[in-house]
């Protein structure tokens, strides 16, 4: 008897969740009004805590408020000394360099190749293995308005409302208009989307959507897309160099971006890449642990692209907003912070407090649900507190089996089922304990419709393109579920096409790292002490004791 995966002190509360379930199946929690929403966010969303941010002291966004952890890496000294780098000795001379091996990078590489750049003239440089990226971890789905009762304009309104009307509308237009084209591309490549026997996609709601347009491949949607794109990159023999992150962009004396310095994490040597076009697809910043939140992100999500881009003059936007996914695992300790997909709520599971009562409509946009959970735990004290002090609320997954029939969870939420089963929790019968977790970088490098990176005057920086989570503008101040898998494909594709176009006519002059020296001068002028270095490449998780005794004797 009981719930073997949960400590006994939770059992009472789980019984209450069970007791209210039947009643709640018929109960629809009232949607939040615009006024209530504003009040809720202001009081409880972490973005609204003034002590979490500070104004940047220098660079294209001088004076703008960003999370302290982002300011720390932007206001940091370079890892390399330009004097150590021999730019005359080129290791890779290519047409298009793609920095980052996730979904955007793979899509960019393929479309560069489709547009006539030979595989041997493309290089993907990546920090970990090719494909080890947030893309693979995206579970819930990808949005595209392809059903008759839906349309790209309806999708547009959902995106821009979810983003608090702060999105760059020209980018939203591209996102929604090109979404069906991406799904078609995937269908032709052989992505196994969930379909009925006639070939219709099985589409459900996501938080903040007004139509059912979430396409999924069980709850491994990102994994399925990523592995198919990777397979195609490998089939086409596009070059990939792993465990070799870019640590600085290279420019030429005419002021265009002309490649990057890579660093081999295993042999500690650098490589010089000269490229006619460079595409930044480095992803987001989960591993910066903004405001000490745990994260759903992969190990390499340290926003290196922001750092490198900022030093060549890219303008950032919407960096004041951070996406906390409402439902990260809050128990067991081994998986705290890991993603519990929004699809669980999409399929009908409600969020309930310690007494088994609802407190928010489960499919409000992510920032609203996250704020409501924090309020329920800290403002109203209606959450569970685990032995480590972690708070959390119940996500009542067994409702899914009642609504859609037995076996639905194993079929459509296989990853979630497995994740919890490893720790003796059966989510078909027991609810999961959840709390918001750091999920997505809403803002980033500003781009135009051609994915060209822009400077503070809104002008393109020649030779530099960017796509995916590293960019800002598409999602405004809050991204909806299913729009990031879409973003990386739509803008990754555009990045590839535009980089190819640029590379065909570009001429690269003498290479230089003068901008890096200039950056150091500016840091000194701003009075910033040379304590921090960036990009940080990988987060520091080593044990305190071990780290305190770590010395480098240079043997």
């Amino acid at each position: 008897m009981g719930y073997p995966g949960y400590p006994e002190e939770f059992w009472d509360s789980i019984e209450k969740v069970e007791a209210t379930r039947e009643r709640r199946l018929k109960e629809v929690f009232k949607r939040i009004t615009p006024e209530e929403k504003e009040k809720l966010l202001e009081k409880w969303h972490p973005d609204y805590r003034p002590e979490g941010k500070r104004a940047l002291k220098l660079g294209p966004n001088k004076g703008d408020y960003v999370p302290n952890e982002v300011a720390d890496i932007l206001e940091a000294y370079p890892l390399i000394d330009p004097n150590d780098i021999d730019l005359e000795d080129i290791d890779y001379d290519v047409d298009v360099l793609i920095i980052g091996g996730g979904g955007s990078g793979a899509a960019a590489a393929l479309w560069t190749n489709y547009r006539g750049i030979k595989a041997e003239n493309i290089l993907i440089a990546t920090k970990l293995r090719f494909g080890d990226a947030n893309t693979k971890m995206a579970q819930g789905g990808i949005q595209a308005a392809d059903r008759p009762q839906d349309s790209p304009p309806i999708h547009f309104i959902d995106v821009i409302g979810g983003g608090h009307y702060a999105n760059k509308p020209e980018l939203v237009r591209i996102l929604v208009k090109e979404a069906p084209l991406i799904i078609k591309w995937h269908e032709e490549l052989g992505v196994m989307y969930d379909k009925d026997e006639h070939g219709n996609f099985i589409e459900i709601h996501g938080g903040g959507t007004s139509r059912k347009r979430m396409h999924a491949a069980k709850d491994y949607t990102g994994l399925e897309i990523m592995r198919v794109l990777m397979d195609e990159v490998l089939n086409r023999e596009i070059r990939v160099i792993e465990f070799s992150p870019a640590v600085e962009l290279i420019m030429d004396t005419s002021g265009q971006v002309a490649g990057a310095v890579l660093y081999n994490l295993e042999t500690n040597q650098y490589y010089v890449v000269r490229a006619k076009a460079t595409v930044l697809t480095t992803g987001g910043f989960g591993r910066l642990h903004i405001q000490e939140f745990p994260t759903t992100n992969h190990y390499g999500a340290t926003a290196d692209g922001l750092v490198m881009g900022y030093r060549v003059g890219t303008h950032l936007r919407d960096m004041d907003s951070v996406q906390y996914h409402p439902t990260g695992a809050a128990f067991p300790e081994q998986i705290v912070g890991q993603l519990v997909t929004e699809k669980v709520r999409g399929l009908g599971a409600q969020l309930v407090n310690i007494d088994g009562e609802q407190f928010i409509y489960p499919l409000e946009p992510r920032d609203v649900v996250a704020a409501a959970i924090i309020r329920e735990c800290y403002g109203r004290n209606k959450g569970i507190v685990t032995v480590t002090g972690q708070r959390g609320l119940w996500l009542d997954s067994p409702m899914i089996e009642i609504i859609h029939g037995e076996g639905t969870i194993k079929r459509y939420l296989a990853a979630m089922y497995r994740q919890f089963k490893r720790f003796d929790i059966d989510i078909t019968k027991e609810p999961m304990l959840v709390f918001p977790t750091l999920h997505y970088m809403n803002g980033g490098i500003e781009i135009n419709e051609y994915t060209q990176a822009l400077n503070a005057d809104g002008k393109p920086i020649p030779g530099l393109f960017a796509a995916g989570e590293v960019t800002g503008g598409v999602h405004g101040k809050n991204r909806l579920m299913g729009n990031s898998l879409l973003d990386i494909n739509v803008f990754g594709r555009r990045g590839g096409i535009n980089a190819a176009k640029h590379a065909k006519k570009a001429k690269v002059g003498k290479l230089t790292l003068k901008h890096v020296n200039n950056w150091v001068t500016k840091l000194k002028e701003a009075g910033i002490a040379p304590k921090r270095k960036a990009p940080i490449i990988l987060p520091e998780y080593r044990g305190k004791r071990a780290l305190s005794r770590s010395i480098n004797i240079g043997f």
Binding site: D146, I160, K184, F201, K218, V385
Partner: protein, 233 residues
């Protein structure tokens, strides 16, 4: 409001683990990744998503006086006392190239690219070691029977950690083989969406261009009005 603050000082039990043969004392209950970091390792190889999705952290371990060899993912497996472990930094595997447009969804296409699939001896080791609990051998047998659809569905949750392929006496590269099988299924054996074709035609004809242009120019006040008037399906 920070997500993790310890309220009580916990008394944590320590266990001994042997990372590539060297003994370290680490707190009980940590995953293999976190235990290695606690011991002082900065992970570079054998780590990726840290959430069971990427397959970067295939791990082999055993216990003293136990002949059995165990396998798992370092991000999902909790350390136990007396564990001798190594995370595999890399799995060497053949990955034949192909043009998906030129293949047929049949056994002969597959066997040309992966002839070793016929060497399966049905030992079922692959199934026993799979951290995703996939019926790996059954999927291989379905391929041999030409049932591509079933093999694709059965292998769908594969994260390509490579453990099965390293243990396979027939030297089958299951995860690359399954990738091909799934793409053949997705491309050739699943009916295409008709709605999508219709929508693409409408987009090409410019059906939504005017409305989108209007929306782009509208500005926040009007967007807000439209957003608040939405009818939810």
């Amino acid at each position: 409001m920070t997500a993790q603050k310890t309220v009580k000082k916990l008394k944590v039990k320590m266990v001994s683990i042997y990372i590539m043969g060297k003994e370290y004392k680490v707190p009980e209950g940590l995953t293999i990744h976190k235990a290695m970091e606690y011991a002082g390792y900065k992970l570079v190889r054998g780590v990726g998503c840290r959430a069971g999705f990427c397959g970067a952290c295939a791990t082999v371990y055993r216990f003293k006086d136990d002949y059995r060899l165990y396998t798992g993912l370092a991000c999902q497996t909790t350390v136990k006392d007396g564990m001798y472990l190594v995370i595999l930094p890399f799995v060497p595997a053949k990955k034949p190239g192909y043009d998906i447009e030129k293949l047929k969804a049949d056994f002969s296409s597959i066997v040309k690219l992966f002839p070793e699939v016929t060497r399966c001896v049905q030992c079922n080791t692959c199934t026993k070691v799979c951290p995703q609990e996939i019926q790996v051998m059954d999927a291989i047998q379905m391929i041999l029977r030409g049932d591509i659809k079933s093999a694709a569905e059965l292998s769908f949750d594969c994260i390509a950690c490579g453990i099965c392929s390293l243990r396979c006496p027939a030297e089958i590269i299951h995860y690359n083989l399954f990738q091909l099988v799934r793409r053949l299924n997705g491309k050739y054996l699943t009916p295409k969406s008709q709605h999508l074709v219709q929508r693409l035609k409408e987009i090409e004809e410019g059906k939504f261009d005017k409305e989108l242009e209007k929306l782009v120019k509208m500005g926040p006040e009007k967007w807000k009005e439209l957003y608040e008037q939405r009818v939810i399906e």
